[in-house]
């Protein structure tokens, strides 16, 4: 075969010529057509972030409309399971917040891979009690989610949350890229076309924010409003340049059923990571409120013993009508666990 080819190499026949010519014609035609069809004169820049893009996602209103603004404060109780139960009892029981068939989402603050004893994360006892309360009230499903700062897996395991979720067969949703959707808030300065942890909210009817009371250098305090930072995705740390602004926008983004603010042990210094018993003060308080501004105001002044001026975002949230910084105006139900008496002030 090879020899034949070399003999023929100087001249080729008509058949060979036709084959070559038609192959060349096909290639030339394909190249020309492809080149012309794909040709453009200018290339639009697809990466230019457009803030006008429509929101892919919106949170529902998770409030129980007939409750209004109410607040319960349980004092002198170091046992979280008990104090959170007393708090709900003081406001008429969990049944007022959760109805049969509700899908409840708990949003704890599990930002750090830190064991429960340092109170840098929502305590597993508290979550356990809340899960049981919700299930008792007939919730069809309870979910827990957070987008922590430290490694999610580590955070969930070390904080004791993973163990609780497994024991009560509750869905614990770790953040994955595909769970985020871009959200744009009306009149927002910061949360524009920004990813939030949306997937866990699918089908949810009730949402509870569950957070510890912590010191926080940049924002003054890390309480129930700042807890929603854990719903943001992306390089959310850039928002620390306007920490008050982001906290207020987050508080305006979501209307939870209620917030549970755990002041059983308050992180007075070295927040929000803590990591030492020396940072903690036993304040033995549990706050339950449908008004997160009031809850945060109470925790700032009474537990962290700080001036409201140190946490500008509380008054900013009040100005936007998210709640009231004057927690007394809600006539909170106080409950002293030591004497088991409760009454309005």
């Amino acid at each position: 075969m090879k020899q034949d080819n070399t003999e023929d190499s100087n001249a080729y026949g008509r058949r060979e010529f036709l084959v070559r010519a038609s192959a060349a014609a096909v290639i030339a035609a394909t190249a020309t057509a492809g080149g012309l069809m794909s040709h453009v004169k200018d290339v639009p820049n697809p990466d230019r972030r457009s803030h006008n893009r429509e929101s892919e996602f919106a949170f529902r209103n998770y409030q129980q409309s007939d409750l209004g603004k109410i607040m319960a404060i349980v004092r002198n109780c170091a046992e979280r399971r008990k104090s959170v139960g007393l708090a709900f009892d003081a406001l008429g029981g969990i049944g007022k917040f959760v109805s049969r068939g509700d899908v409840v989402l708990l949003k704890p603050n599990i930002a750090f891979a830190s064991p429960p004893r340092f109170s840098a994360t929502t305590h597993p006892d508290l979550l356990e009690a809340l899960i049981m309360l919700c299930k008792d009230a007939g919730a069809s499903e309870v979910r827990i989610t957070d987008n922590p700062i430290n490694d999610p897996d580590n955070c969930f395991r070390l904080s004791g949350l993973a163990e609780v979720a497994r024991r009560y067969n509750v869905k614990l949703i770790a953040p994955h890229g595909k769970y985020f959707k871009n959200i744009t808030l009306p009149n927002a300065r910061l949360i524009k076309n920004w990813p939030v942890l949306a997937k866990p909210f699918e089908g949810v009817t009730r949402v509870f924010g569950v957070s510890p009371v912590k010191d926080h250098t940049r924002s003054g305090a890390s309480l129930s409003m700042k807890n929603w930072y854990g719903l943001l995705g992306g390089r959310r740390n850039i928002f620390h340049q306007d920490i008050s602004g982001i906290i207020v926008e987050l508080a305006g983004m979501i209307q939870p059923t209620a917030v549970v603010l755990d002041g059983t042990s308050t992180m007075m210094t070295n927040g929000p990571t803590g990591g030492s018993g020396a940072d903690l003060k036993p304040t033995n308080t549990m706050i339950l409120s449908t008004d997160m501004v009031a809850a945060d105001a109470y925790a700032t002044t009474m537990l962290l013993e700080r001036d409201l001026g140190a946490v500008p975002w509380i008054e900013k949230a009040q100005d936007l009508g998210i709640g009231t910084a004057d927690w007394k105006s809600l006539s909170p139900v106080f409950c002293d666990a030591a004497s088991q008496e409760s009454g309005k002030v």
């Binding site: 830190s114 580590n154 306007d242 070295n270 990591g275």
Partner: protein
């Protein structure tokens, strides 16, 4: 049942076990996660891992004692490890078999003829053991891991295959998808070595494998061997599927035989090939034919290669340490680390946050594929309460740590925590320092107690602008000039101050971004008063004596390109030489 089926089953079992140990090597409490599975067992069986580290360090660490049974087995039966156990060998055999499907039967034997280049692997072994021995005397480092089949295969499965299959089939064994920058070359090596089997079966085993060479040298003395009981008319059937290319049809080279048993009963029509203690009638070639010239050349270049680092051409273990060489907590000093690391990637795979990655050659050629910390990627720096990597290291390049020791608590309180490096603030990039913008994300996230980052509070002018007040009633200030600043003054971080006395200042509550400002304080100012804008900044400062170099700050820093706070290896506790404080040296 034919003996070949016994071999195949053994190969499949060990291969699956090998893959399984890599699969379970992820952090968690499920049965399919790392909870007491002997994930290093196959690595520990590898006699070259044991011999290499014994030569480079002078002692045999922990489970590496498992190599002893393999050595004894080889002395008794020959290279059972290669043909029956080695999962990398099984992979090569499989691809070699695929290659055989494209050939005619007559061509099969040609691929399996002994080639004199098979002697290359003995030179590879010699070079690696020579380097290891040099390391014991202070020059060079352990490099067996480059080609040692079990570490090579472990590294490839851990860092290339599992992430690849996770990506393709959209599952995650770890909580988050894995990303290993610079691991591409590991994949290139793996694909190259597997693909070449299509032309020459078990190419790696025959020409390159230093472990095979080591076992080949041992098998010279083995009691049981493959022998020919009678002289036969060479029909070539025995070589058709011979894995080791050990020429059973002619004078047998038992050191090349991997005991694949493909020449055994059922294959040999004359049935003359036996596995016995008898000596062969046709004779065998016992020596491996190393040339004196070759040995001298290899030893010479080995010595040269070993002295290169001390000559200062490579960086890692010379007099100037590489600040980017941040090793995981528990790592031995760099020289001792490199004398032990076999580049298997076990630590990298177990790391729950993916902050441990294989190094490229930037830390020195000898540090290729060793674990190094990269705090920019992964989920969140090195976790304070995690010691996982130290417990999976098969050779104790990373010493097993208990949490108490890592955190410097309890009986370790006087020693302090284990530091892998120190964070430095880059004031030219840090938002508060360089840009006058509040931030301190790093301070917030510092997990050390008390925090290793504290803040310096200061009030700094936002710009050179001085404004004249047009009107000021009850805290509502109207300026004559436009503000002209592209920032939101109402964040609570901005203050209005008198231009001539900045101590006199009021917090800005809100602004219309044009020329009206609301301030905190019901004061009155005369029209024409000169004022300026201040920003209240808290700027991060690292305390070198308490920073442990965990890199959480670097991971979280919002300056997303080159971070404004970065960890380098200064002050790492494994080597007091690298300390920058007098307290750290002591």
């Amino acid at each position: 049942m034919k003996i070949q089926w016994g071999r195949r089953i053994s190969q499949i079992v060990f291969f699956l076990l090998f893959i399984w140990f890599s699969v379970v090597l992820n952090f968690g409490e499920q049965w399919w996660q790392w909870r007491g599975w002997p994930v290093n067992w196959i690595l520990q069986l590898d006699p070259l891992v044991a011999l290499g580290t014994v030569l480079s360090t002078g002692h045999l660490f922990g489970g590496l004692l498992w190599a002893l049974p393999v050595v004894l087995l080889t002395l008794l039966c020959g290279r059972v490890f290669c043909g029956w156990i080695c999962p990398f060998g099984a992979m090569h055999q499989f691809f070699g078999w695929i290659g055989s499907l494209f050939l005619r039967i007559r061509q099969l034997g040609e691929r399996n003829r002994y080639q004199k280049w098979q002697v290359l692997k003995y030179y590879v072994l010699l070079a690696m053991l020579g380097l290891a021995l040099c390391a014991l005397f202070g020059a060079g480092s352990l490099q067996t891991g480059l080609l040692d089949p079990i570490p090579l295969a472990t590294r490839s499965v851990n860092l290339i295959l599992i992430p690849f299959f996770e990506h393709v089939f959209r599952f995650n064994l770890n909580a988050n998808p894995r990303y290993y920058p610079g691991s591409g070359f590991i994949g290139v090596v793996l694909i190259g070595l597997l693909a070449v089997n299509l032309w020459i079966p078990r190419f790696f085993c025959r020409f390159l494998c230093p472990t095979g060479a080591l076992l080949g040298l041992l098998s010279r003395f083995s009691l049981l061997r493959l022998t020919k009981a009678a002289v036969c008319k060479p029909c070539g059937l025995c070589e058709r599927h011979c894995e080791g290319a050990c020429s059973p049809s002619d004078k047998m080279r038992f050191s090349e035989c991997v005991l694949c048993c493909n020449c055994m009963p059922g294959r040999c029509p004359a049935n003359v090939l036996q596995y016995s203690t008898e000596s062969p009638t046709q004779g065998e070639i016992k020596s491996v034919n190393l040339e004196r010239r070759g040995i001298l050349m290899v030893l010479g270049s080995t010595a040269l290669a070993a002295t290169l680092p001390t000559a200062g051409t490579l960086t890692a273990n010379t007099h100037h340490f590489n600040p980017n060489c941040i090793r995981p907590p528990g790592s031995l000093p760099e020289k001792n680390f490199l004398d032990r690391c076999v580049k298997c990637g076990q630590c990298i795979r177990i790391c729950p946050t993916n902050c441990l990655v294989p190094s490229d050659i930037k830390l020195g050629i000898e540090a290729l594929w060793t674990p190094v910390m990269n705090f920019r990627i992964g989920t969140s720096g090195c976790q304070l309460n995690c010691t996982a990597c130290s417990h999976v290291c098969p050779t104790a390049a990373i010493r097993p740590l208990i949490l108490e020791e890592k955190l410097g608590q309890g009986t370790y309180a006087d020693k302090g925590p284990i530091r892998v490096g120190t964070a430095f603030v880059d004031k030219g990039r840090c938002l508060p320092w360089a840009n006058g913008r509040p931030c301190i994300v790093c301070q917030e996230n510092c997990p050390v107690t008390p925090k290793a980052i504290h803040v310096e509070t200061m009030y700094r002018p936002c710009s050179d602008f001085v404004y004249q007040i047009s009107e000021c009633i009850d805290g509502r200030v109207t300026l004559r000039e436009m503000l002209g600043l592209k920032c939101n003054l109402g964040t609570g971080d901005y203050w209005l101050a008198l231009a001539e006395n900045r101590q006199k200042k009021w917090r800005i509550l809100s602004s219309d971004d044009v020329n009206v400002i609301e301030i905190d304080g019901k004061i009155k100012m005369e029209a024409g008063t000169l004022v300026c804008l201040l920003v209240k900044l808290e700027a991060p400062v690292v305390n070198f004596n308490s920073c442990i170099g965990c890199g959480v700050c670097e991971h979280e820093c919002p300056v997303s390109g080159l971070r404004a706070i970065r960890v380098t290896s200064e002050n790492e506790s494994r080597d007091p030489k690298n300390s920058i404080t007098p307290e750290g040296v002591s």
